[in-house]
């Protein structure tokens, strides 16, 4: 419970317009893009680092749990206040503070929307590389917390490769700056430690990101297949021939029909799978690689190979890809997105396994994924109103992720562990490794107030104390 005294102090600090505590408002903050829900007791909207420090101190005095939230697009329950308490929304700390093209940097507040960075610099021919599908909505603070990825991370790396420094508010109210405008600052890489810590060790209040020069040429290709296995073979062959696309996305038949019906992007309705491939770089390099990939696709029985002829056509194909989850929502009232990763050579066996899981549980599973780096997004369709369906979806998901672990992969490539996959952490990591994570949690959040009940399996950390019995899937 948030004590009345804490509420009053926060109201005094922030003013009446910068917090919410009515049930009809709070209900909007009980979920994110995943399947878990829990309602906060209050939502506060800091406007400055000083506000965040004060919030940390006030809630600390009263022992109230706090959870950071960006746009709420996360897919692992990272922003769900599962122990109740206060949600700290960064939506009003949304300014791009500095753009410094000569130094290839921008300094932004955590509430800045991912795509807005690129929009701010694209006139000068620069861009911010990590491009999660939710990039029109998701915020940099959330991206840093989850170490977000996206299709183009195949070539450019994930968020941690593009963050050079952070301003953090620690749980004792200390403000710390890590990294900086320059690279290789001496000492331990604290920026690397906190990026991807899923909002469990500190609040991020400022981010220094790396900007990249736009490539000279971009080509987007669509290869269409009558057999998913040929599609998987193409991916392996692209790697074997040392071709280096910046994105290789695969959509299976179920998925691409849903996407096409929703977006009319031009995907074929009758195919078993498609590959969406993007090449970037100097004109010569891109032209050469288009032909190399055309050869690979032909050798791997692609029935059709298209090169997007215009920026509009390219945008449409990507719109289809990036709005895929929305397309699923038109077909199924509930869906459960997985984020397993497997070594590239294990893609085909994994797809086969997923087909088996689909049959075993009687649930439709569609696949859309970053094939180039082995990051799969099986989407399990279910109906939570049918008794047992939710449990079956969860069980099917766990079975897929355990398979990913068994072939040397991981349970999450870009969505984070959150509260969704924490119980599987014990299957992926040894007890020694989990102890280390727990050691860091205790070091930076000894009272376990910050985003409790995430990442580590139940029985570790502080869930026994904080977790209320009424949280629901």
């Amino acid at each position: 419970m948030v004590p009345a005294a804490a509420r009053e102090e926060l109201e005094r600090l922030l003013g009446a317009r910068n917090y919410l505590d009515r049930a009809e408002d709070l209900v909007l903050y009980e979920y994110d893009g995943g399947v878990d829900k829990h309602r906060p007791e209050m939502v506060v909207f800091p406007r400055s680092t000083e506000d965040v420090v004060a919030i940390v101190k006030i809630t600390g005095k009263h022992g109230v749990p706090i959870v950071g939230r960006g746009a709420g697009t996360g897919l692992s329950g990272g922003a769900i206040p599962r122990a109740g308490g206060i949600t700290v929304s960064f939506s009003r700390m949304n300014q791009i503070l500095e753009i410094d093209l000569a130094n290839e940097r921008a300094v932004v507040q955590p509430g800045v929307v991912n795509l807005d960075i690129t929009l701010a610099v694209q006139g000068d021919k620069y861009f911010y590389a990590p491009d999660p599908s939710s990039q029109r909505a998701c915020t940099i603070g959330g991206n840093v917390s989850e170490n977000a990825g996206g299709p183009h991370t195949l070539a450019y790396g994930v968020t941690t490769n593009h963050v050079l420094g952070l301003e953090l508010v620690l749980m004792d109210g200390t403000v710390v700056n890590t990294g900086g405008m320059a690279q290789d600052v001496p000492g331990y890489d604290l920026t690397g430690l906190f990026t991807g810590s899923e909002g469990t060790m500190a609040f991020v209040t400022k981010v220094i990101v790396r900007l990249m020069r736009q490539p000279e040429s971009v080509k987007t290709l669509l290869a269409i297949y009558d057999a998913a296995s040929d599609c998987g073979q193409t991916v392996a062959e692209i790697t074997a021939r040392a071709i280096t696309p910046v994105a290789v996305e695969m959509l299976d038949g179920v998925m691409l029909r849903m996407v096409e019906e929703a977006t009319h992007a031009g995907f074929p309705m009758d195919a078993e799978a498609v590959l969406l491939i993007e090449l970037e770089g100097l004109i010569e390099q891109v032209e050469e690689q288009v032909e190399q990939i055309r050869d690979v696709c032909a050798a791997c029985n692609a029935r059709e190979f298209r090169v997007a002829k215009s920026a509009e056509e390219r945008d449409l194909l990507w719109k289809g890809r990036k709005n895929a989850f929305g397309a699923v929502g038109r077909v199924s009232p509930f869906y459960y997105v997985q984020d397993g990763v497997v070594p590239r050579t294990q893609i085909a066996p994994t797809l086969e396994f997923i087909r088996g899981v689909s049959a075993k549980y009687g649930l439709s599973i569609s696949n859309i994924f970053h094939a180039g780096d082995g990051n799969l997004h099986p989407i399990i369709l279910f109906d939570a109103r049918k008794p047992g369906d939710t449990d079956r979806a969860k069980a099917a998901g766990d079975e897929i992720l355990n398979f990913c672990i068994s072939v040397g992969g991981s349970i999450t490539g870009e969505h984070g562990v959150g509260m969704e996959k924490m119980e599987l952490m014990g299957n992926l990591f040894s007890s020694d490794s989990l102890d280390m994570i727990q050691g860091f949690k205790n070091l930076f959040d000894p009272e376990c107030r910050l985003n409790p009940g995430k990442v580590l399996p139940t029985g570790r950390g502080c869930m026994e104390i904080r977790q209320r019995p009424d949280f629901v899937l």
């Binding site: 000569a102 690279q183 331990y188 490539p215 010569e284 990763v341 780096d373 040397g408 990591f429």
Partner: protein
């Protein structure tokens, strides 16, 4: 002094736990090729080497990943990858002696970081042993992985002060069929910086952009200010670079390899020559690099597309004073390699900033009694 080199990860973890339980100070290293780096080290009760951990744990070229034990010689490692047309483009100095673990833990990377990044960008997983005898895994064998905390990042550049790296997983890049290097010679710095700026602002994607001042270029048989730019790719792509970057001289094949070999060994060669020599490393915003170059009275070699530079001094005072003035301008830096007299913490790392307190907390978590590589990290940790 006791000296051991355990040959399995289990033995390494057990040995560390036993030494720590006995309160023994431990000097840990791979090939010990960089003893003068990072503030040197205080005398320790035992020496622990990773040199017997040399297995290749997993290498499937089609997955573009590899996992090797930390004591594998860097040279053996890169030969293995090259045989499969692949590479980890880190270019560490001391490459002929260094181990894979040492190259990563010392975080000294070379010219190609402009395009490929540094160890933090190429390492996808790591296993390390703690003083409690635990074997901790961070990351894994896939290129995208956000499960758990990325504690491996802390070990990169830790100079062995936190834990002992047992094995490292890397993502790999295909080695391209062709490379070219373009040298630009200038009589004055501003023209060199202008050239660098124009390359950065253009659509080219060179691997390396290194800058040498006349003192530095003289050490590798060049003259004046030199900007060295390397690109790699297909024959056609390299021809495009030849069109765009018609420099003073174009290097290919053996001449190109020899040139970059000398750049990679620039610091080791100086340290061999000058046992009393000091190497200062500074980090500046890219734009400020020209000012840093202008202020260096000694051989100065910079990763000009990153803002990381090295200056070679023959005396402690010269190094400390230059670093102090660089710090006064807001640049970050350290005396990376010290001469025989060493360098005190205030000289070696003049402006650590408030995050040093957080780093000390991290050190406490791993090594509360300061047993591991005491004195390293510039005597500040």
């Amino acid at each position: 002094m006791e000296r051991i080199a355990p040959s399995t990860p289990e033995q390494m973890a057990e040995a560390l736990a036993a030494f720590a339980a006995a309160g023994k100070t431990i000097h840990v290293g791979g090939a010990f090729s960089k003893l003068r780096q990072g503030g040197g080290h205080a005398p320790a009760a035992v020496t622990v080497s990773t040199s017997a951990l040399t297995r290749v744990l997993q290498y499937e070229p089609k997955d573009l990943t590899v996992s090797v034990e930390s004591g594998l010689p860097w040279a053996t490692f890169t030969r293995l990858l090259a045989a499969n047309g692949q590479m980890v483009p880190l270019d560490p100095p001391f490459a002929s002696q260094a181990t894979v673990g040492g190259a990563v833990v010392s975080n000294l990377c070379g010219p190609r970081r402009r395009w490929f990044g540094s160890a933090r960008d190429l390492v996808i997983g790591m296993q390390y042993a703690t003083l409690e005898g635990k074997r901790v895994q961070s990351g894994g064998m896939v290129v995208k992985n956000v499960a758990g905390l990325d504690t491996g990042k802390l070990l990169i550049g830790s100079l062995g002060t936190l834990a002992v790296v047992l094995s490292i997983n890397f993502k790999l890049a295909p080695a391209p069929p062709c490379t070219r290097t373009f040298l630009f010679h200038f009589t004055a710095l501003p023209a060199a910086i202008q050239k660098r700026n124009s390359i950065l602002q253009e659509v080219l994607q060179p691997w390396s952009i290194d800058l040498l001042n006349p003192h530095a270029s003289g050490r590798i048989d060049e003259e004046g200010w030199v900007l060295a730019v390397q690109a790699g790719g297909s024959q056609r792509l390299v021809e495009r670079y030849e069109l765009e970057l018609a420099g003073t001289r174009v290097l290919a094949d053996e001449a190109e390899q020899r040139f970059w070999e000398r750049i990679r060994e620039f610091i080791p060669e100086f340290l061999r020559e000058k046992p009393d020599g000091y190497v200062v490393r500074i980090s500046t915003p890219i734009e400020a690099l020209g000012d840093a170059a202008a202020s260096a009275p000694v051989p100065f070699l910079a990763r000009a597309g990153n803002g990381v530079a090295y200056a070679l001094f023959t005396d402690a005072d010269g190094a400390a004073n230059w670093l102090k003035s660089a710090a006064g301008r807001g640049w970050r830096g350290v005396i990376e390699f010290a001469g025989a007299d060493g360098a005190g913490p205030d000289e070696a790392w003049p402006n650590p900033g408030p995050e040093l307190e957080v780093m000390r907390k991290v050190k406490q978590l791993y090594d509360s009694r300061n047993l591991l590589n005491r004195g390293r990290l510039y005597g500040r940790i």
